[in-house]
């Protein structure tokens, strides 16, 4: 951040605590901060602040107002990022705000993704909050703030900004996880997520410090310059720094052995929050990870590729093997999200252009699939958000055929069945791995998707193999109404998964054009 205003100030003078002598100060040149480069981020933060003020000042408010407002803010940021996409398309990527923030295809890809997630998350949350009657716009405010954090992580061209984005995202999520304070699991999830999150961000920060020490700057551009210029870049401190960065990102992305928090937090947190977390937080984690490792530490490729290989293999296997023995739907989806992270790691490990595009495509399609799935989980969870055991899904097709069908499509997509985006995503990533000649990883990827197919199908079978006494039991419990907003989310996610499964061209081009400004 040497572009900061205090540049000219004799900082070390302060340390020595002599009396101030302002005359000898060098003139101060101010960085021109173009706010247009961070339009979507500011829109989100502005929205959050407006919500805060709104609730503070205005007493009465119609129930759906907050959700509508959040959706509007989401759409606004989507529009803004689309404009930036066109702008970048025209006159190329650029860095802004004294090289701290970068505006390139890659960052705008994530801005679009996060905006969409905000919109869908708000829709998903609205009826959930009404059902659980959790008053107050906190859900929306925190979601907007964490999304802005996610966007910062994606468009950071400086490790400091990445760290700040990570923190904004995580702290908002800690509170979101603990939102439903009636359920003890929710609070427990919040505590666990908080302690481990703090711990891993401290480790991440230490990594940043070491990288700073080794390369002399935290700006990704300058780090790349340093790595290319110096003759023996890979010294101990730098490698240790890279390793600790990987720990921080690994935690956020839930790669094994840092994944232990994921099942508990996903099960404990309220379902819409889990959905948002699985889509938004994971995407942001990968945004930072891919940019830092793929673009910046490209010259150190030979160093970090083996360790990423180990992480990917562990993640793939543990994710799918553990998911089989789970009894709770949210834990199943948690472990499946871990195995999906494994697949994206395959893309990273391939460390080639196709791998990056494959990973981006995977994150985009996975976001839709997981949001749709958690909408269904929220619905089936009914009041009190507790009915998540697999038996709750027995015979669902008899009672709610549309819901069951939607859930089946989403599950099959996650299993990678052809004619869905899930299949293309896995195919894209694995072909990148084969191109990058890491055949063993591709093989393990396919093996784990075979194992994964089992527990996806297990749920599908449960839904369609209804037993008689289930009918009677269902009659007693309150009917499973599908509110409009949830229906919209389901429709959008299923439509996206199947439509772009059949004619994938537009989305694949979108992922491919999201190039990185090294």
């Amino acid at each position: 951040m040497n572009g900061l205003p205090m540049n000219g100030l004799p900082m070390n003078g302060l340390l020595v605590a002599q009396a101030g002598q302002p005359e000898g100060l060098a003139p101060l040149e101010l960085p021109n901060v173009e706010y247009s480069a961070m339009a979507p981020h500011l829109i989100l933060i502005g929205g959050a602040l407006v919500l805060l003020v709104w609730v503070a000042m205005v007493r009465r408010r119609p129930p759906w107002a907050w959700a509508a407002f959040t959706v509007a803010v989401g759409l606004a940021s989507l529009g803004a990022s689309w404009l930036m996409w066109l702008d970048v398309g025209r006159n190329g990527p650029r860095t802004a705000v004294a090289d701290a923030v970068v505006v390139d295809g890659y960052s705008i890809f994530f801005m679009v993704l996060v905006s969409v997630i905000v919109v869908l998350g708000a829709l998903m949350g609205e009826s959930f909050l009404k059902r659980e009657d959790i008053r107050g716009p906190e859900f929306y405010v925190l979601m907007l703030l964490s999304s802005s954090g996610a966007m910062f992580m994606a468009s950071a061209n400086d490790l400091v900004i990445t760290f700040l984005g990570l923190e904004i995202l995580s702290i908002a999520l800690y509170v979101l996880a603990g939102l439903d304070n009636r359920r003890m699991e929710s609070r427990e999830a919040a505590i666990k997520y908080f302690v481990l999150g703090a711990f891993s961000s401290a480790v991440f920060l230490y990594g940043v410090a070491l990288v700073y020490g080794a390369t002399g700057s935290t700006n990704l551009g300058e780090i790349v310059g340093y790595l290319q210029s110096s003759v023996a870049p890979a010294n101990g401190v730098l490698l240790a720094g890279v390793a600790l960065l990987l720990v921080g990102f690994g935690f956020k992305v839930a790669a094994v052995p840092f994944h232990t928090w994921t099942p508990d937090v996903y099960q404990g947190a309220p379902s819409p929050v889990t959905g948002f977390m699985a889509a938004g937080a994971k995407a942001a984690g990968f945004a930072g990870l891919l940019r830092v490792f793929f673009a910046t530490f490209d010259t150190l490729k030979l160093d970090w590729q083996p360790i990423v290989w180990v992480l990917a293999v562990a993640t793939l296997l543990v994710g799918s093997v553990l998911a089989i023995v789970q009894e709770d739907i949210k834990r199943v989806l948690a472990y499946s999200s871990i195995s999906h992270a494994g697949f994206v790691l395959i893309g990273l490990q391939a460390a080639n252009e196709k791998g990056l595009a494959g990973s981006l495509y995977y994150l985009l399609t996975y976001a839709f699939m997981v949001l749709g799935s958690f909408t269904v989980v929220t619905l089936v969870g009914r009041k009190g958000d507790a009915r998540h055991d697999l038996d709750a899904y027995r015979g669902l097709s008899a009672r709610r055929p549309a819901l069951a069908l939607a859930f089946t499509v989403l599950l099959l997509a996650q299993a990678g069945i052809p004619f869905t985006t899930g299949f293309l995503a896995k195919f894209y990533v694995i072909s990148a791995a084969v191109e990058g000649r890491s055949y063993s990883l591709a093989l393990i990827g396919m093996l784990s998707s075979v194992v994964a197919a089992f527990f996806y199908l297990r749920i599908t079978v449960l839904m369609y193999m209804s037993t008689d006494e289930e009918e009677a039991e269902e009659a007693r419990t309150e009917p499973l109404a599908i509110p409009r907003s949830m229906a919209v989310v389901l429709a959008v996610s299923v439509a996206f998964t199947v439509a772009f499964g059949l004619l994938p061209a537009p989305v694949i081009d979108f992922a491919r054009d999201a190039t990185l400004l090294i």
Partner: protein, 130 residues
């Protein structure tokens, strides 16, 4: 002996610290000696009353733990937040003139956002001291 030689060769910078070190060590040694001698010499007849926590002569009532008022915490938290805000205002204040209008506007925005936070907390009834 080697330790002594390194001691002398140390630069002036360290010597100042050395004096602080010596002075502290002397104080600790004196107090330690007095208490140590006392505990060695006095007879030891342990009785329960001797181990009751001393609350300025008043007999302690209830367990050691008591329901602490939440509002103390809340004020603590708010204090931390705004104290960190000041951390940012200090360097700004030092170079106020050079930063000019741009600097002023930016700091106003900064403070306004935090004020918004305070407003929200106030409306939520955090500040009510009951």
């Amino acid at each position: 002996m080697k330790a002594l030689t390194t001691l002398i060769a140390m630069s002036g910078f360290l010597r100042e610290y050395l004096t602080v070190l010596v002075f502290g060590a002397a104080a600790v040694a004196m107090v330690g000696a007095m208490l140590g001698a006392g505990s060695l010499l006095r007879p030891k007849r342990a009785q329960l009353q001797k181990y009751i926590s001393y609350e300025s002569g008043v007999d302690p009532v209830g367990t050691g733990w008591s329901q602490s008022q939440i509002r103390y915490y809340l004020f603590g938290l708010l204090f931390v937040m705004f104290e960190v805000e000041t951390v940012f205002i200090f360097p700004w204040a030092v170079r106020l003139e050079d930063l000019g209008l741009f600097g002023l506007v930016e700091m106003v925005v900064f403070i306004a956002i935090l004020a918004l936070g305070l407003l929200y907390a106030w409306r939520k009834g955090v500040l009510r001291w009951m």
